[in-house]
Amino acid sequence: MTKTAAFFSAAALLLSACGGNGGDTGNGNNGNDGEAAQSDIKVGMAYDVGGRGDQSFNDAAAKGMDQAVEEFGMESQESEAADGEPESAREERLRTFADAGYNPIIAVGFAYSGAVAKVAPDYPDVHFAIIDDEGAQGDNIANLVFAEEQGSFLVGAAAALESKNGHVGFIGGVEVPLIQKFEAGFVAGAEEVNPDIKIEKTYLTQAPDFSGFNDPAKGKTAAQGMFDAGADVVYHAAGGSGGGLFEAAAESGNWAIGVDSDQYELADESVRDSILTSMLKNVDVAVYEFLAEVEGGTFPSGSVRYDLEADGVGYSTSGDFLSQETIDKMEEYKEQIISGDITVSAEP
């Protein structure tokens, strides 16, 4: 009995260790070799579960930071959250950055809301930015938020336009209000094009289990189910689990739609030809702009909203899989959303 138990728990612990993110701890961007400007700003970046290398949300933040680091010669350091860590671990991560002299500190993801709200007042001279959250407010906190529903509306329309069966699907990583924004936009966009369209919807895990953002096997199973049921275009908002969707799409010859970053560029070569388009959530733009302002000597605080108009969300055309008619139609919707003729609800 004890031995079975030992085996199980050891296996569980080891698996969770592997599941995290094996090697990508370093960032190789400590400082610059001198040709560009040298800034004395040290950026601390606290990632959500998945970290750099998730080919999605965290990677987008990393890209923005890398760009700023290269351009301004900033110094940077990063750290990522572990699945199932206590609240105190998130607080501790921010405090370690602050104590080690990092300023500004960027918290990637709404899970840091409570931690930022608690730690920021203790370090009034350190500037914090949090992505996807407006709950933590303060004089030294910038809230970078996005209109995910608007971008999702456009790829929802694209899915409906490109679907041959009139049947599409949505895979959410974890059922939280943030991911429901993606669902709401996608459904609204697809139904705008085709009111009779059939839409499969599923979430991989339920909060507080956040493994749905980092579990490609679950993503693949869910996607296979949808393709088997007759869907031929499936959109995911599931972070690292999206890799499973791409595999399933490539194996069954259907379309997948990526999220957050241009996943055609990031995904493995064997699956990229199944990625119709990606809903771009330009976290990199937000992070870069924030850092550019910091470099310029101003520390933004309060909410900054990145929507279609501000180029905070959008879609990608890499791979040239979208037909010209589809793109024209999407551009039309984009204009209508920006002008206010179409309002996209953020709730399903």
Binding site: M1, T2, K3, T4, A5, A6, F8, S9, A10, A11, A12, L13, L14, S16, A17, G20, N21, G22, G23, D24, T25, G26, Q77, E78, S79, E80, A82, D83, G84, E85, P86, E87, S88, A89, E92, R93, R95, T96, F97, A100, F110, A111, S113, D122, D132, E134, G135, Q137, N143, V174, E175, V176, P177, T205, Q206, A207, P208, D209, F210, S303
Partner: protein, 368 residues
Amino acid sequence: MTPRMTRVLLSVAAPVLALVAAFAITSAVLLVAGDPAGEVWATILSWPEPRNLVNIVNSATVLYLSGLAVAVGFRMNLFNIGVDGQYRIAAFVAAVVAGEAWLPGPLNAVLAILAAILVGAAWAGIAGLLRATRGVSEVISTIMLNFISTSIVAYSLRQVAVREEGSNIIGTKPIPESSRIPGFSISSEVSTDVYGFLLIAVLAGVGYWVALNRTRFGFDLRATGQSQTAAVASGVNVKKMTVTAMLVSGGLAGLVGLPILFGNAYSYGSTFQSGLGFAGIAIALLGRNHPIGIALGALLFAFLDEQSNPLQILVDVSPDIVKITQGIIVLTVVISYEVVRRYGQRLEQRQVAQALESSDNTKAEVRA
């Protein structure tokens, strides 16, 4: 050397051996990966700052309760994998009860704690009943109940959730201030308090020891765990014991999430800590199901978790290395206990043989 001293030495040798082995293997992994093993250990083994000490004690409190819950089952050869589901559904119910505040002040907290114990016990009781009446392996049923519990909690959370303006986190109504369990501060510089629930965890540990070692129930439980047939022969109703043990295990599991709920989070939301039940299995093993051993195991795991947090920032090594260390510790502990047990056995046999030999010699001399 007296036999008593030998026994004490042997029981200390096992965990020390395990830790040294785990230390060596982790260092080897670090070296193979080309990471600075020295710096990693210097960071992990440095003396924690006061606020880190508080975090360690707090995490250990939670892990301790989880370890106790698992240990109750272990003592009866029941493998309650379901502590994870039990604590989450119990913490959720407690959060709802406390948030609604039907009773004033501390009474409200008491009601919520009782509700958590009942819900945890009932949830584990299902697995106990299935085992007793239908022979369903509790490993299978509890792990399935974990999934059901996760879904029920997620579903119910959406029914009762309140959402803070602008935040993406949903949660139950916050517990009114008067019903929170106050912590104690160890220093004025530290903004985090030690969970007041620590005292309840200590009481639970004492209760566990007394119930197991000083009551008829505990005797029956241990007897059933060691030999079911012998227990039946001595008049133990094994089915009843199975259900009772699962109820007790689940009741303890119900307490696991409460220190966090009453001492830090004040509501059950989408960022409530998960996975505590599985950590409890490792800790119960590490602590050999002994209340003090479990406490040491919980402190060790909490220490490693807390100290690994800054690794990535300060030495550029992923804190996941500590998960590897923890996994190895669990394995080495089991192996080293077995090694030490066999060594002890051989030692005893040799002593007995010597004793027999010398008495044979005396007899022979007498005869001559």
